[in-house]
């Protein structure tokens, strides 16, 4: 802690801490919400908010009363010494002893639910079933808030996760390899067209990929490879290359000239120099871009939507399809969303330092 901080008054410091804490709370609660929900029983999810897993005092149903058959629901009904109309019972009537009575369902049910205020949420009813269902490709079932059994076709997230891995790893490493070779050439080799070609790379940094989607899709269709992993690797390699070449050039061009000269004097070919010297020395830059590109590819939706279509769905397209088909099935949506987030979050928290470094270098400010 620096000297200046000691000078600020405690009141100010507390204020800053409170403001920061509330911002952090706002930023983390949304993710927490779906994490908690993904472990709750579907019937609970539809009945109460996810925050009700926290211990709190609430009205909970304790017993059911069955009114006699001859009770006329159209007139005033007397229960436990209180008289009220059906509509009032339906809304719920508080008794003096703290209990609340609510008419269940329609008039003919003649059922009264007794609610009592008590502490709940200690033994939250948590389950892994949502994850099992969302990973499955077969038929899954659940019970909705009204007690009906609903059948759904599973979204086969296990296959989507595998597809995402098959797309993301090569789509991360291939552009890095190609870009590292090119960055080395741009930085340390002489060849005709070097300057205009590098200007091209810089110009392409901000080109929106929408401009390329339709022509590239036409190529893939002509070659008959739409829907394959190969076309995803090619597309992501093409779209990721400008940043990759740019970042790696920035790094490789700052390596000391001496090492290349002594390698040359030792008789190393450029290829050997590149593999033995440049690649190992550039690991920090390679790692930064790798994380950047991996998160970008894993989280990409547009490119997958256009080139993969419904074949070989990756996690983002599987999740988006689920939002369209099952917009209210929150137990599946939340567990699916979390499945799609686990790997990028692990990469992010594990390698945050490299990621930040990549971000900084990627802010194009010259």
């Amino acid at each position: 802690m620096s000297e200046s901080n000691l000078k600020t008054s405690p009141a100010k410091r507390i204020l800053v801490a409170v403001v920061l804490l509330s911002i952090v709370l706002v930023w983390t609660v949304p993710t927490l919400g779906i994490l908690v929900t993904s472990f709750r029983d579907p019937a609970d999810i539809f009945a109460t908010g996810w925050w009700s897993v926290l211990p709190h005092k609430t009205f909970a149903k304790t017993e059911e009363l069955q009114l006699p058959r001859e009770t006329d629901p159209n007139g005033p009904v007397e229960i436990e010494g209180v008289t009220a109309s059906f509509e009032e019972w339906r809304q719920g009537v508080a008794l003096e002893d703290g209990r609340e009575l609510r008419w269940y369902g329609n008039k003919r049910s003649r059922r009264i639910d007794v609610y009592e205020e008590k502490w709940v949420g200690f033994g939250a009813n948590l389950t892994l079933q949502n994850y099992r269902d969302v990973l499955s490709g077969g038929t899954v079932q659940f019970t909705d808030a009204n007690g009906n059994t609903i059948y759904r076709q599973g979204n086969n997230f296990s296959s989507a996760v595998l597809n995402s891995i098959a797309v993301s790893i090569p789509a991360t490493v291939i552009p890095i390899l190609i870009a590292a070779f090119a960055a080395y050439a741009f930085a340390w080799m002489e060849f005709p067209g070097r300057k205009p070609l590098f200007i091209m790379v810089v110009a392409l940094l901000v080109v929106p990929l929408q401009i390329a989607l339709i022509p590239v899709l036409r190529d893939f269709t002509r070659w008959g490879i739409t829907g394959t992993f190969l076309c995803m690797w090619m597309a992501h390699t093409g779209f990721g290359l400008p940043l990759a070449v740019y970042l790696l050039y920035n790094y490789i061009s700052t390596l000391p000239r001496d090492i290349f000269e002594s390698a040359y004097l030792d008789g190393a070919t450029p290829f050997t120099t590149f593999v033995r010297l440049v690649l190992p020395l550039s690991i920090p830059a390679l790692a930064s871009f790798a994380i950047f590109q991996f998160l970008w590819v894993w989280n990409d939706y547009l490119v997958a939507l256009v080139f993969l279509g419904d074949k070989n769905r990756v996690v983002t397209s599987a999740l988006a399809a689920m939002v369209g088909e099952k917009g209210q099935d929150w137990h599946l949506l939340t567990s699916g969303a979390f499945m799609s987030m686990i790997i990028p979050l692990a990469v992010f928290f594990g390698l945050q330092r490299f990621f930040v470094r990549g971000l900084m270098a990627g802010s194009v400010k010259g």
Binding site: S2, L20, W27, P30, S253, N299, T334
Partner: protein, 360 residues
């Protein structure tokens, strides 16, 4: 071995190497086609084949280049190094830009010449006018919220004890896909509808009801629903602004702040008179990056509303034109408009580069 010795490879070795490469490339592709039903095996094979092929390709091309006559050898090697990247970029971005430009003057199926019809659509059709208005909202409010929030957090957390934890939690959404973020926020905006004893399970409606208000279908609320979507981008991108701005703030020499404090400047004066001017270039960079980003925004709108209820944006209309209405002319015109809007940034980047060594 030095460069003066002729080829490291004799012709027979070279031909064998090329043959092996071709077998790996084509054989691997065929193998993958036959593994479609064994997901895990296919995934492993796909990863190995994809990486192996590229590495092998570089190795073989380099071997060929090293066998070139001595005079042109170093240029040949350089071209092998830079060639794959240059060819890929030309195929994936340069040519498509020209092809999109041509398509934008053609009819729905990419044939003929329709003059400016597609651009007339892109600028005057009510759908597009609405999309432009919404993108403007995204660019103005989305960007400024991201930058201002990022700045506030960066300044407040600077030198705070828990700075790292704070920042990493606010930065975390950067790792989440827009589709995932869409689900997260759709759940917050969830609305159950009218009814007796309905318990809202969406956080926002629960708060509104808890405060005595009435639950709303937030995503259907005309005009304002755009802002409920913009919130998602702010949630995702503030971390980016915060990280970049925070490192710029840390680069301000402490003596400057100290001198101002000695002169009696308060925290606010220091912030507006020293911090802001000092990090202005970084603010401009961050703002530009997020502006471009909100211009191209697609996933959030696609997942949350599909562009309905008055929330359409340009990139979503691009997608709809091409893939729902099958009109590549109109879609390409929209893509060209996106590119043209970005050209000033592109020009600025190039100008920044003029001084760099490679361009001299």
């Amino acid at each position: 071995m030095s460069r003066d010795i002729d080829s490291r490879w004799n012709p027979i070795q070279l031909i064998l190497l090329i043959a092996v490469t071709l077998v790996v490339l084509i054989g691997g592709f065929q193998l993958l086609q036959n593994l479609q039903n064994q997901k895990i095996l296919m995934t492993i094979t796909a990863v190995a084949w994809g990486l192996g092929s590229v590495a092998l390709l570089f190795y073989v091309l380099n071997a060929i280049a090293e066998s070139a006559p001595r005079k042109i050898r170093s240029i040949a090697v350089a071209m092998v190094f830079a060639g794959p990247a240059v060819i890929t970029l030309i195929w994936a971005l340069v040519l498509p830009t020209l092809r999109s430009l041509r398509l934008s003057f053609a009819d729905a199926h990419g044939r003929g010449f329709v003059f400016l019809d597609n651009y007339k659509f892109a600028f005057t059709d009510p759908i597009m006018v609405e999309a432009f208005r919404n993108n403007l909202l995204w660019m103005i409010f989305g960007t400024s919220f991201c930058v201002i929030m990022g700045l506030i957090i960066a300044v407040l957390s600077d030198r705070s004890k828990a700075e790292k934890v704070f920042k990493s939690l606010i930065f975390m959404p950067m790792a989440i896909s827009f589709v995932g973020a869409g689900v997260i926020w759709k759940f917050i905006y969830a609305y159950k509808g009218e009814g007796i004893n309905v318990t809202e399970i969406g956080l926002l409606n629960a708060i509104v009801v808890g405060l005595g208000g009435k639950a709303q279908a937030w995503l259907l609320m005309p005009f304002w629903n755009n802002f409920f979507l913009i919130v998602i981008m702010v949630w995702l991108q503030t971390g980016y602004a915060m990280v970049i701005l925070s490192s710029a703030i840390k680069a301000i020499p402490e003596e400057i702040n100290e001198a101002a404090r000695v002169d009696g400047a308060g925290a606010f004066t220091i912030f507006f008179k020293i911090t802001i001017p000092y990090i202005m270039p970084t603010i401009v960079t961050v703002t530009t990056t997020i502006l471009i980003f909100s211009l191209k925004l697609f996933d959030i709108v696609r997942v949350m509303t599909g562009g309905n209820f008055g929330t359409n944006v340009i990139a979503n209309e691009f997608y709809l034109r091409q893939f729902t209405y099958g009109h590549s002319g109109q879609a390409s015109a929209i893509a060209v408009v996106l590119l043209v809007v970005i050209i000033p940034v592109l020009a600025y980047n190039l100008r920044q580069f003029r001084g760099r060594e490679v361009l001299k």
